[in-house]
Every structure is written in C-alpha cells, then in structure tokens.
Amino acid sequence: MEDPRSQVARLYRELGPVVYRRCLRLLGDRAAAEDATQEVFVKLMRDMDRLKDRETVLPWVYRVAMNHCLNVRRDARRRGQDGLAEDLEVVPDVQGERPDAYPDRQLAQAVLARFDEETQAVAVGVLVDGMEHEEVAAVLGISRRTVSRKLSRFLENARKFVARTGTGEAESDEGAVP
C-alpha cells in the first residue's frame, strides 16, 4: 500500500502541472506561479479523498487554482505591486482569428480585479479561457443561468466603468467590489 508521503508526491507530480499552468496563465510570472502552485496544492491536500478521485479532480483543481490566483492578482493590485502580468492571454474563439479582435475580452482584462471572486472566475472562464457557459457552471458548481447572469452584469458594469475611465468608480452593482 502506498504510504501517504509517496501518495502526495505522486499526486503533486500528476496534478502540479495543471495548477502551475493555471497560475502561470493568470499571474504571468514564473516565480509567482511557483509560489502559488505550492499554496494551492497545500489547500488541495486538505481534501485527499477528492484529490484522489480521478473522475472529478480536474475541474476542482482548476477552480481552486483559478480562485487562488485571481485573489493573488487582486491582492497585488491593491498593494500596488508590480510584476504580475496586467494582461491575460486569451484563447482564440475561432480557428485562426486573433484573440485581440474581441473587445469584450479586452474589457474583461481592464476591469477584472474590480469584481468578486466568483464573478472574476466566470469572466475569466468565458472571456479568457474560452469555456462554454456549461463548462464554467460545472467547474464553479453553479447553474448555467447564474453564469449567464453574472457574465451579463460583469460586462454591463465593466462597460460603465470603462465609459467613465479616469472620472470615477464602477457603479455599484452585484459582483462589483470597491
């Protein structure tokens, strides 16, 4: 029988790359991604049964890593730290098309940090990672309808914010944070 230490080492070797890639994509900095990977995995280890379940582990790991790294981005921004990538690299929507052809995605990057964790995860999932609403819903454990609603409000609020860039804050709305 595999001892606990070997088991964790094996799971880290297998799932660590998933966490590292997610953090690298969201933080854009290798040292920050390395630190975040450790922190995420320590969190994941608190539920070893779930970590060992190959059928369900991937979306869970993905979500925990995404939430953690979005918080790291937000905290860094609040502290005025430099070093983390401002822009998120977005998935092309259609073969061969340039990602920057999508104004909504650029909008998402500009205002992402102003929203709560779940709304950020929805926006990143759909607008940055190119996930279907159903996929985001499954990863976050919320309904597809909630995904659509949060995304709509995110975009609506983000547009208002961008329209007022330099003059004030985003209007108070569900999901927006001061």
Partner: protein, 246 residues
C-alpha cells in the same frame, strides 16, 4: 466555424488523452495544437524545476517562504554571455582531460565555474562569489556511475540541482559537463555543493537524509565539508563550498 478548445478541455486531454472529447478537433486545429504544445512544455518545466524545488514544502504542508530567499533556478540553457564563456572554457582551457578523477585516491571530482556576461572562471573551494552568480558544473568519475548534485546553504535549505527532475540519478561516465547550470538565490552566506555518484542508483531521499543528518549533528559541517554518512558501499562524494557575498 469551429470553436477552439478551452484551457480546461486541453488540460483534460493532457490528463487523460484517451478519454478526451477533443481529439478530432486537435487534429484539425493548429492554434489548439500550438497551445497544447506550450502546455506540455510548461508541464515539463514544472517537473524539471518547480517540483524538485517545492515538493518538500508541499509534503510538509507549508507555504512558500515569504522572502523567497532560496531560489536556485536551474536553467536548461544559461544566458548568452555565460553560455559562450563556459563553452569556450570547456573547449579550450588546459584543464584536466575527460576521465580526470580528481586528487589521488578520490574517485569523483567536482569542478564549478561562475560566470557573468564578461566571462566565466573556475572557482576554488571556499571562494567568495556574488550571491546571484550563475554556476556551471563538471564532474569526473573513473567509472560510470549514477550522479546526484545537490546543495545546502547556511539555513539548511537543500536544493536538488542535477538531475533536476525524475526519480533516478543521472548516469555519467568519465568527465561530464552537466547540462544547464544554476543561478544562486542572491542571499549571502555559505552554500555547499555535493556530488554523489554510486554504481547503483541511490534514492534522492536517502542522499538528502544523509545530508540533513550530517548538518544536524555538527554545526560546523557545512563550512568544513563533512562527508555524508550512510551511503551505500562504492558511493563516491565530492564537495565544494562557495561563499555568497552581496
């Protein structure tokens, strides 16, 4: 119009290619194949560099050090100036030939070079070098053996340098310049390097335990370079100290 696969879908493919639903899409989608290729490279980067540096802390359930004072970045290819200097040095220096076995009676030797953009030079034991110096390594053994190269600093932090990933030590024969190198962490203090080479592979855990027990038992062991106990018969050791200065 075919929508590109999401990051999660690509992760699922890497996790379990046979159960993935995007195999057909990947065949016809060049952008997705490019993304997948990059993800594979990043996974390799994790296995080669991140995992060896972080596994112990993860196993202990600890967070990263706040200051990140220990960050030995093992690099596949050193930056231009150092690479060129090191290559020239290995090709043209009048040093010992391949197969050199170090001092008499020593079956393993370790040579270390520190480099910068203006050149690389071989270090003497105990030499003071910039705390963020880049290092290159060369080992020589009289016979084929399985090599681990690791380091420990004044705080007892052990870093695995070569091979950076995998469960097994690398096989070396004669004189071997190790691929890549290491960039020191920028923190002043002693850093002792150990090369351990044995006829049969030794698990890294065992080497690391031997190193930690030596340091725990003797405060002066780091600077004095005590040999590591408890290794299998036939295991050869070579060690070298560098003093990192601001």
């Amino acid at each position: 119009m075919t929508r590109c696969a999401s990051e999660l879908a690509l992760e699922a493919y890497l996790f379990d290619p046979t159960g993935s639903t995007i195999r057909d899409h990947l065949e016809g989608c060049a952008p997705c194949r490019v993304r997948l290729s990059r993800m594979e490279r990043e996974g390799e980067e994790f296995r080669r560099f991140v995992e060896p540096r972080t596994l112990e802390r993860v196993l202990a359930g600890r967070k990263p050090r706040e200051s990140r004072w220990k960050r030995l970045l093992v690099t596949l290819v050193p930056a231009g100036g150092l690479a060129a200097a090191a290559a020239a040095m290995f090709l043209f220096s009048p040093g010992p030939p391949d197969g050199y076995v170090g001092a008499k009676g020593t079956p393993l030797s370790l040579r270390v070079w520190a480099g910068a953009d203006d050149g690389a030079r071989e270090l003497a034991d105990g030499e003071r070098i910039p705390a963020d110096a880049r290092l290159r390594f060369r080992v020589a053994s009289g016979q084929a053996c399985r090599l681990w190269l690791l380091s420990v600093d004044g705080r007892g932090e052990v870093s695995r340098l070569f091979p950076a990933a995998g469960d097994a030590p690398a096989t070396v024969t004669g004189g071997t310049t190790l691929p890549g190198g290491a960039a020191l962490d920028g923190q002043p203090g002693p850093e002792r390097l150990y090369a351990i080479c044995s006829p049969e592979p030794i698990p890294f855990d065992r080497v690391e335990r031997a190193l930690r027990s030596t340091l725990a038992a003797d405060d002066g062991a780091l600077r004095r370079g005590a040999s590591l106990p408890g290794l299998p018969a036939g295991a050869a050791q070579a060690t070298m100290l560098v003093e990192k200065v601001p």
